[in-house]
Symmetry: C2
Subunit: 327 residues, 2 copies
Amino acid sequence: MSDLTMIEAAAERLAGHARRTPLLSSPFLDEIAGRRVLVKAECLQHTGSFKFRGAWASITALPEAARARGVIAFSSGNHAQGVALAARMHGVRAVIIMPSDAPRLKIANTRALGAEVVLYDRAREDRDAIGAQLAEERGLALIKPFDAPQTIAGQGSTGLEIAAQAAEQGVSGGDVLVCCGGGGLTSGIALALEGHAPGLRARPVEPEGFDDTARSLAAGTIRRNDRLDGSICDAIVTPQPGDLTFPIMARLCGPGLVVSEDEALRAMALAFLRLKIVLEPGGAVALAAALFRPDAVAGDAVIAVASGGNVDPGLFARALAALPEGD
Amino acid sequence: MSDLTMIEAAAERLAGHARRTPLLSSPFLDEIAGRRVLVKAECLQHTGSFKFRGAWASITALPEAARARGVIAFSSGNHAQGVALAARMHGVRAVIIMPSDAPRLKIANTRALGAEVVLYDRAREDRDAIGAQLAEERGLALIKPFDAPQTIAGQGSTGLEIAAQAAEQGVSGGDVLVCCGGGGLTSGIALALEGHAPGLRARPVEPEGFDDTARSLAAGTIRRNDRLDGSICDAIVTPQPGDLTFPIMARLCGPGLVVSEDEALRAMALAFLRLKIVLEPGGAVALAAALFRPDAVAGDAVIAVASGGNVDPGLFARALAALPEGD
């Protein structure tokens, strides 16, 4: 069970290893949103997303003998790279099980970070069975992407930084919008804010058609997505909120927000133009909500977590092409 | 005359107003360079370049009565935006004299930051005469882009941060590569390093064909560029090093480095892919030298200052198109 103490302990283990990412702003974004907009640039974290935090927290929490045997993870993207780098920094083996149709760049990056990549056929093979067998044979520890106490604690360290950085900028109340997949980052931040910045309230943001968390929060019970493919926001598409993350979000979070893919692309273009950071669509939905859903947000200031920037050049160029002429 | 005391005083005035930009890294860049590469991401500074520092330091150093009358600057780009924002944050008027053929985005941004923009015809009008008349009529204080003690002191605050951040990462020796136009940033960093990190040595980096500083350092006396137009690195193209900046660079800096425009574009693409930051060509030449001139650089680690990110979307897309297929 994750709690503030566990998050603070994870933050201590992360100190000097994860980056304390900056809280950025631009008067041009404030004008669009009609209020101050502060952007937690977690795309600048190691491996280009917040996932390094949970991976590091999980690996450092393993008993020494278990850690020495190595770790295993399932992921087609950001979690893979976070686990691979955190394992390498500990000098332990990482096995990452990835679908054979994952983007070549993400497979190549994961291998380049020293991990052994095991590919499987999504249509014909059972990922969990492959993983269970490998874990059993080699004694590997499974590092879950969101629904595990240490993963939530590691992601929650982002919330401790937000609380401190917002206070430095004179912001003590309002919404903290978080790009939400399985809810590890959102629930971790919510717990951290409850303890360190009770005037700030975490709220999940999802893409249209993949709003399982928003619907689950509205219903008071877990709801699933109808489909899992076809979103450019692939980094934050999961079947449903986690069994551990959902109760935390239900207790602490405000209502979920939903934005379109087009709004995510526009937020990417504005982050390029005004903040000089690179976001992937799934890492831009919170900023999109901050900019384009002003009536749904509370407070004089809004904080948006920009959770990742691992985007293919072609898709990024598509986002830039949406900028008006002369911008 | 700029010195360490003046830089430290400027840094105190900047505290809480300028961003302490992060020192980023990626194992993928280390592999290309064959040594550790640390990137000071000054593109994340307010208005997208280091210029805010010098503008803030200059404006805060004015006597109160002079400051209240307002400031004036000549610039087609980053200095304009830095001065405009710093003036607005002080609630004082800024007049910026820009060529009528400056990029529309930069003119629009400067106006949107509250400055009065006065356009002039490069071919037919005398910029200095227009500026002198306006300054005289309205009692405005001129904020110089590089060759002034407070400008150098403000840019030098970047060097104090580099010294501290490098020490945090265990780096106490090696080259600090700096994108160099008139030499305000390079000379300021050189002075800061002399006092706070004597094992680190600043070195200017310029684009091919506009290497006035490298040639001046080699000759021991100021040399001019043959031409001033036609470079995509426009942000760092100046006629020659400054009368104040050159002696500092001659005393403290290592030899200048020169990279091609193509190398600057490749460095932009790699900064996108591996660091998730947006660089303009003139802000990418130092990283290009760190990555592609390994034999010309000393030390187990190299620090590159990424000085700005104000780039048009079309040019940025061109840099991304240079990435190999699959990246």
